[in-house]
């Protein structure tokens, strides 16, 4: 089997048939994405009410003047529209294009909110998942094909994202990127952010370890970039749980060393990184029979 076929098979080849476990798992994933998206739409919408100037136009704001979303209640109206469309889409009421409309409206919400300099990435995986639902629901009618595509397509972009992050570092700085002193500089930068946000700041043990030793800081950066580089292996089903675990570990490390949280990335990796329906089908009966007929002392 050539590499292209192998990747296609790993991303879009399973499951052979949809069981109740797969349906439950899929709707749980969809529910999480719907919840996160509604949350983001409102969080961004409410915050945009405070914004009255465009410092750094992003995305579509490079083509049109996004200030029409400022100094009025359009962000709130947009959040209401996104919420209604998402709820209808979750229950498959209305058009198959609704997720695509949500995707566009959410992009407007993002560029209106982040027009004053910040380019956050914490919501990118949620946005990519909405993109997957938008394309998957519009392109596939058969539920099995829809399931395979939406899960596989989302995983494709997760792997690609981590891989491109490592390549960006190698192009932007080169192999010298892992020099531990670079981590010192980022720790100082992030500690300034925390000081400004909270009014106070204390280093944790990971940061103290990195700041005390260049080799320790270098090792941390090496583990980080290596994990990102091999993140593309999440495309392969058998490696997926191990890669997901490594990526979750990396995010935990980033949180400890640089105070940057990627909660939605970690939750999405937990949901998509492990074959929960297959595990349930394999071990569900054993677990049920273990508990049936037993009295559990409490």
């Amino acid at each position: 089997m050539n590499l292209g076929k192998l990747i296609t098979e790993n991303l879009f080849g399973k499951p052979d048939q949809l069981t109740s476990a797969h349906r439950f798992y899929f709707k749980l994933f969809e529910l999480y994405i719907v919840y996160e998206t509604i949350n983001l739409a409102w969080e961004w919408g409410l915050y945009t009410l405070k914004i009255s100037d465009v410092v750094l136009p992003l995305g579509i704001a490079n083509l049109i003047d996004i200030s029409f979303m400022h100094d009025n209640y359009l962000p709130i109206i947009n959040a209401i529209a996104i919420s209604i469309l998402l709820v209808l889409s979750f229950f498959r009421k209305g058009s198959k294009w609704q997720y695509a409309v949500v995707f566009v409206l959410l992009h407007f919400q993002y560029v209106a909110r982040f027009s004053i300099g910040e380019i956050p990435h914490s919501a990118n995986l949620v946005g990519m998942a909405i993109f997957s639902f938008a394309v998957g629901l519009a392109a596939f009618q058969n539920e099995l094909h829809r399931y395979r595509f939406i899960i596989g397509f989302t995983i494709f972009y997760i792997g690609l994202g981590y891989f491109s992050a490592s390549i960006s570092k190698l192009i932007g700085t080169g192999p010298n990127w892992i020099d531990g002193r670079h981590l010192w500089l980022w720790i100082a930068e992030k500690s300034t952010d925390i000081l400004s946000r909270e009014g106070q700041f204390n280093y944790n043990f990971v940061q103290i370890t990195a700041l005390k030793s260049i080799p320790a800081a270098t090792f941390m950066l090496f583990i980080g970039i290596a994990t990102e580089f091999f993140g593309i292996l999440i495309w392969f089903r058998k490696l997926r749980p191990y890669v997901a675990l490594a990526l979750i570990g990396m995010h935990f490390g980033v949180m400890m060393s640089m105070n940057i949280r990627f909660d939605s990335f970690m939750i999405e990796l937990i949901i998509l990184g492990f074959p929960f329906p297959e595990l349930y089908l394999k071990y569900g009966d054993q677990i049920k029979s273990y508990f049936s007929g037993r009295e559990i002392s409490i």
């Binding site: 004053i116 981590y162 952010d193 946000r197 909270e198």
Partner: protein, 163 residues
């Protein structure tokens, strides 16, 4: 066409679309991204802080200091409902402090706080020095008072209007 073939075709077309958008927008077209954050290591950085200097003496108010020698009391962005990264980027990326931009920053921080407090806007610069140290210095740039905004007199107008 088989579903697998259709899936890979759609994926490749979307990838082309993705590549086109990020290539023409410096790597970012939300939610498409090449995730370039932290790609340029070792570069000096600039962030921002706010301090309440209502009770500080005017002497040395405009001096550049280290982060441990700051005047006044901290103003937590969280406590005033402002996103720290937003604030920091607003201050560090603004090259032209015209009336509109100053009004936007005062509005973002909350004009209501400034009726009773004097808030100093600081830029914080960090850089690597020599083989093994990071230097962080704080530069007061604007003082927000209830009825006016003062510019740091130690800098020429070019510093505030460089665009």
């Amino acid at each position: 066409m088989s579903a697998k073939k259709k899936s890979i075709q759609i994926t490749l077309i979307s990838f082309l679309f993705y590549g086109l958008l990020v290539a023409t927008h410096e790597g970012e077209y939300w939610p498409f991204s090449i995730y370039p954050m932290f790609s340029k290591a070792g570069n000096p950085w600039t962030r921002a802080l706010v301090r309440d200097v209502s009770n500080s003496t005017p002497e040395n108010l405009w001096n550049t200091t280290t982060i441990d020698e700051l005047n006044g009391n901290p103003v937590s962005m969280k406590s005033i409902g402002v996103d720290q990264i937003d604030y920091s980027n607003f201050v560090s990326k603004t090259k032209d402090w015209d009336t509109k931009r100053i009004k936007a920053l005062r509005n973002m921080l909350g004009e209501e706080y400034l009726t009773t407090k004097d808030w100093m806007i600081y830029k914080v610069h960090g850089k690597l020095i020599g083989e093994d140290s990071v230097v962080v210095e704080t530069v007061p740039i604007l003082l927000f008072k209830s009825d006016t905004t003062l510019f740091n007199p130690n800098f020429s107008s070019e510093y505030f209007f460089s665009e």
